[in-house]
Symmetry: C2
Subunit: 398 residues, 2 copies
């Protein structure tokens, strides 16, 4: 009993955390409940029931299937569902008419053949990446409705009425979803994408902010054994990791954002593709940081003398890149001009030259410790790559 109690406590805890991490999840659940209840009560009221018959249940079905977390998702699904149902219904009626020409014996064969043909062809189109991304659900509903209409048609005589009923119930269900999801605390996929992209850039910035201290400080403290303690306390050194695998999330959000109407500062045809571009460069930068991160954890001791010489320009490079990233992030966030970032980009580029100068000076002083220099030199040149990435990013944001 203690064990099961602990388990229940665990589940409760993780539920609470889930809600606290993003309170919109709780609101979304309540919204789904609300839409569902609304449509169910609609089905209850006698006037509507008499009008729609048992087809009214399709409104309930539509709400459950169509209601998504974001407005874009809900819109895309309900529009896909409505259009696909309409199109497939019309085609299904046509198929049935065609089949009826062939007489009672030929009918099932013709219908079976048509269902096979359209089912196979539509399934194949779902493999097109573009259709998969935007109209996957629509194609699914198309196959579904077409086969249902053409097959059931043989039995139900009042097919036109049925089609009309089904379509209107789907529209009722879809409209309820759209209204509830847009009017009560709407979650916009576009805004989420916007925030994700900026928060990713900020994560990289806070890594670079801490990197200089971490790398140069850490090394000098190494002998005292304090390193391991200090590393785990610093979440900013882990933050960039989530950026590495952000591609699929960004892609799907951009796809949903396309469906959303004007909201807040975003217009209908907001350049969502630009976000994907910025996201791709951010990831590129994150790959370099991943490489950089290997040297914080590495045990290879670099020459301290050389390190102290490059410390200043390296710290400056990472600091200025950090500032440039932060200012780019805030420029994206507020949708203002990103030119303030240019100063920092320029500064970090001068730091590259300072580094080169420092290395040149070092090389005339030292002679034998080339091997010990290599790790530090790698850090420096990875930083140079990061500066280049930041520059590209600032061009993309423009």
């Amino acid at each position: 009993p203690d064990k099961s109690k602990a388990k229940v406590m665990n589940v409760a805890k993780s539920m609470r955390k889930l809600g606290q991490d993003d309170p919109r999840r709780v609101i979304h659940s309540l919204k789904v409940g609300l839409a569902l209840t609304l449509v169910s009560l609609l089905y209850y009221s006698r006037t509507l029931y008499d009008g729609f018959g048992i087809a009214g249940i399709w409104a309930v079905l539509t709400v459950v299937v169509v209601f998504e977390f974001t407005v874009g998702g809900t819109l895309s699904k309900s529009l896909n569902r409505s259009f696909a149902t309409f199109l497939a219904g019309a085609l299904g009626l046509g198929a049935q008419h065609l089949a009826s020409i062939f007489g009672e014996k030929g009918e099932p064969i013709v219908i079976g053949f048509l269902v096979f043909l359209l089912g196979a062809a539509s399934t194949f189109t779902r493999f097109f990446p573009r259709i998969k991304a935007r109209y996957d659900y629509g194609v699914l509903i198309f196959i579904l409705t077409f086969s249902m209409v053409s097959v059931s048609g043989v039995r139900v005589v009042e097919l036109l009425e049925l089609a009309h009923q089904r379509l209107s119930t789907i529209v009722i269900g879809g409209a309820t979803c759209i209204i509830v999801s847009m009017c009560i605390c709407p979650v916009w996929a576009g805004e989420d994408l916007h925030n994700l992209v900026t928060s990713n850039i900020e994560k990289l910035a806070s890594y670079l902010d801490g990197f200089g201290d971490e790398y140069f400080h850490c090394k000098s403290e190494d002998e005292e054994g304090k390193v391991n303690v200090s590393k785990k306390d610093k979440p900013f050194l882990q933050g960039y990791r989530s950026v590495l695998n952000s591609k699929s999330t960004e892609d799907s959000m951009a796809n949903l954002a396309r469906w959303e109407p004007r909201h807040g500062r975003f217009c209908f045809r907001h350049p969502w593709k630009q976000y994907l571009k910025i996201g791709a460069i951010t990831r590129q930068c994150a790959y370099h940081i991943e490489a950089l991160n290997g040297y914080i954890n590495s045990n290879i001791q670099a020459s301290e003398e050389f390190q102290s010489k490059i410390q200043e320009p390296c710290t400056k490079m990472s600091q200025e890149s950090c500032k440039a990233l932060r200012s780019l992030a805030s420029a994206i966030k507020t949708m203002t001009d990103s030119s303030p970032a240019n100063i920092h980009v320029e500064n970090s580029k001068t730091a590259i030259n300072e580094l080169k100068f420092a290395v040149n000076k070092a090389s005339s002083l030292e002679k034998a410790e080339l091997l010990a220099i290599v790790p530090a030199a790698t850090v420096a040149s990875t930083l140079i790559e990061i500066v280049k990435c930041v520059e590209k990013l600032s061009e993309a944001v423009h």
Copy 2:
């Protein structure tokens, strides 16, 4: 007309390419058509129609919704659908019974409240990452069936019969899908995951195979302007890119693979998690290669003298890592012992020492060109990181 003709030609071309890239797509489409036709004809035959009534259409619906590309996907969806329908149907009947106690006026209120409660609660559980990954569809169907049964119950008297009909048609549809997808050219998610992981390792291997030549050769040819020509002709330099973003594909395949029964060399509880681990290390390696790739394209000229000195150990490192990766890939592919890879891992580790020796020797010869050495040194130390990654990988494969 010419423009639209070109468009049609384009679509036809991309369709052909889609089919040629993976012929299983064409087969899958035909399989869906077949299953759909089978179930439709079942609905046609009078004996069954008399038994199931209009509920027979649910078999068609199930086939469309449940049939997925992989066996794991089909199994997971049909099992989720059957169990969720059963559970929600039972709960819905209970809810209706409970509501009927409250009299004719209280009934709609109680039903509405219960639908709201279960709808909201179930929607919230869909945010749990574990449930989202494995039972998302089941929860969806649970909400759907529960609200349909509890709402429609007020009207339809023969509810038990309806529930029985619906469940059996869903089982018929699901069983058709499972049989067709498992018996006709099955596509196993587990096998796909297996192949994806090995092909990713091989992509990295072929990059490393070509890298030595590309980097050292390319540099020496730079003056002749042949670089740009040579780079575009080499697809192996791009292959690793797809590895960078492979996480989401691998995760979803591993989730589907869990559902699959024993097939070929894979048993039911194959350690699919191990593949995710190997995949993560492969990606780590790919990040380092991404960093490395920056230096092939970079314009910074490194000292040629120094380069020629580290050329041999560097080439050896990348060659031996490549061999180690290839032998690991083939060990995974054939599920045999991976110990042959150890020799190559050891060889690449001796190459690190050779490199250190070469650098040491270089440092006593040269003096002033420290700055020119940095890029080449970075390449060398990134290669060292890659060797470490390969070692970790060979431990994970064991």
